[in-house]
Amino acid sequence: MKKILIFILLPIFMTVLGELMLKHSLNKMGVAIPAETVAVWVDRVHPIVPQIPMAWISKAIEGGLHLAILASHLPVVLSLLTIVVGGVLWLIAMSKFEISFLYPFLSINYLVILAGSALFLGEKVSLYRCISATLIVIGLVIMSRSPNREKPHDSPVQKEP
């Protein structure tokens, strides 16, 4: 029981915490990309590749700037790291338990995230979203009952040279 708590619930907790932190910090920062900055970059890039429509270039530059702003925002990076740690802990759990036993636990994520976004992020969780998450949970549990879990034996395994 103690093993289940540490190896299974800890990665789930870390993942959910990371996702909630990520959405919270994104809500707070409100990414507004100044139109002038985009225009400056479009003017620089456009002469190099005049074949590409201006609108596409401007879209691409806007996206790039958005990406750069997010990647340099500490709370966003910390939340992403939390999600990554959750993923690594989940891999460790996979090495300890049978996958068919583990997989249904993964669906807990959907329910906890739904509850968390209603409680902590103030999102309006409609009945449809609840039904949707429940259907996904049922689907994952049924899938985990499949007898074909191990990888096919005919798949090529590289031998030690």
Binding site: L67, S146, N148
Partner: protein, 117 residues
């Protein structure tokens, strides 16, 4: 706006397929070969492409999450399961049976329900 979520679905699929292709070439069953396996993992191109896709997946997930509710975008990403099952069959010859199909139907229904406002 939905293009962003589609990019995340694409990147997440590429991440997992790369890792799977990478670790399929290893044999973790024998614990004794743990050291050599780690060494082979570090020189495996699929493992590295997986890491790269994973990094991009994270960044694009942050970008798309800034324009969607978490309670909407997170279940939306379950579409990955659908893509993954088809890709697993095509690329690795994995088996699709009744359980997986019925489970998949539920997931499709769940993801579809998200489009009802």
């Amino acid at each position: 706006m939905y293009a962003k979520l589609l990019v995340v679905i694409f990147l997440r699929t590429c991440t997992d397929l790369s890792f799977k292709a990478g670790v399929n070439q290893l044999d973790f069953d024998s614990l004794g070969s743990f050291g050599p396996n780690v060494k082979r993992m570090l020189v495996n191109p699929f493992v590295w492409s997986g890491l790269l896709f994973g990094l991009m997946n994270m960044l694009f997930w942050a970008v798309s999450l800034s324009s969607f509710d978490l309670s909407y975008a997170y279940p939306f990403l379950s579409i990955v399961y659908i893509v993954m099952m088809i890709a697993g069959k095509l690329l690795f010859g994995e088996h699709i049976d009744r359980y997986k199909l019925i489970g998949l139907l539920f997931i499709v229904a769940g993801a579809g329900m998200l489009f009802i406002r």
